[in-house]
Symmetry: C2
Subunit: 204 residues, 2 copies
DNA sequence: TGTACATCAGTGAACGCGCGTTCACTGATGTAC
DNA sequence: TGTACATCAGTGAACGCGCGTTCACTGATGTAC
């Protein structure tokens, strides 16, 4: 953290191109959707020739995949942080994970769609798959704690998956504006606590 | 239904271009995602010059919107049909709506994503919004019947929305292959009945 | 039944555009001696 | 500390491509008389 002013690199070498390209693509994906970016435009935003990105990424899909991977890391961190804010085993801890998830989606709908959309280039990428499982692991842990059951228990997996579908669906419906008018609970939290109670039982 | 062999129109006029373009775009969207189609390719598949589509659609977005609208109609019809298969007020009737929804998603992931994704061209299209509300109306009706409450009751809206998020999330996770390994209930039906019971209470 | 004409769904050629990617290159940087 | 050299992150020009859209056109169809 000496001189990371993000734009004005006057030296010949850029020094931070890889990270800055990822940031540029992230912005483009937010602005135009997961398919609405181009390597050329990302290069332009990073102030660099259109050939430069190929020094850091094999091709367009690899660049996209890097953005998705970075997004998934942020999501998992946010979920962990949410979980840690409440006592283990409380419904609140589960709802907080959901809140982190929804916030992530709302805060970056483009990246959220990218991460969960198998967009062209990263159909079965094992790295992304592993990161996804790691996110689900957070839900599993919280669910097991609420139910006082081991994580491997079938009921835990079942309930955790149900929670995931709800939060995932709510996130998508929110960012896709399908929710307006049809539904007005007093914000996400009421919804998340309601759904957690319904799925995990009314004990707190 | 006199001679609708879909490809071989040897007359100068095509006669069925509009419908055939929509079908072509539907196929392309399934093959390459909501953004992965081109007017040119659709024209090619319909056996027509690349200028011909513009006799039926103002521009690319309008063609996409037509495909989305047609998709939403099919979804609503399927939901209604599912609902009608079981006694009104039964948990099964609710699960059947969910099953129709999931089947629709699995049967045409591309169109499903298109319909629910505000892809570039149809951000706030009132026609699509109305068709979406009409889908939600089916869920509302079924929920009200189960709960023995009027459709306008706040609890009905709340529970119906919860159901929708779950089914929507399950659909997305399924078509995006995020579900493999993590979860293996014995198919959709067990999941749908489970979630209906959790959200609407254990009464049958 | 026959003819004149308006309509309109098609053609095919052309346009300008931005993209992904490659290529030979250049100049800054780090290392070995 | 100084020099030679390998490395490698950048440049900028060029390529071929497919796309969305427009345009003047043509030929089939339906209708009025």
């Amino acid at each position: 953290m000496s001189d990371d002013t993000p734009s004005r690199r006057s030296s010949y070498h850029h020094g931070d191109l890889r990270a800055q390209l990822i940031a540029a693509v992230r912005d483009l994906v937010e602005a135009h959707g997961p398919d609405g970016f181009s390597v050329a435009e990302a290069a332009r935003q990073a102030g660099v020739s259109s050939a430069a990105p190929y020094k850091h990424f094999r091709d367009r899909p690899e660049l996209l995949r890097a953005v998705a991977a970075e997004g998934m890391d942020r999501l998992r961190d946010a979920m962990e942080a949410g979980l840690a804010q409440h006592p283990a085993g409380s419904l609140q801890s589960v709802a907080a994970i959901g809140q982190a998830y929804v916030d992530f989606a709302r805060g970056g709908p483009g990246v959220f769609r990218l991460v969960f959309g198998l967009t062209e280039g990263h159909e079965g990428d094992p790295l992304l798959q592993e990161k996804g499982s790691s996110c689900f692991g957070v839900v599993l842990r919280a669910t097991a704690a609420v139910l006082h059951l081991p994580m491997e228990d079938a009921a835990v997996r079942e309930r955790a998956y149900m929670l995931w579908t709800c939060v995932h669906g709510h996130s998508f419906l929110t960012i896709d504006r399908k929710t307006e008018g049809k539904f007005d609970m007093s914000g996400d939290w009421a919804y998340l606590m309601g759904i957690s109670a319904a799925i995990l039982g009314p004990r707190g």
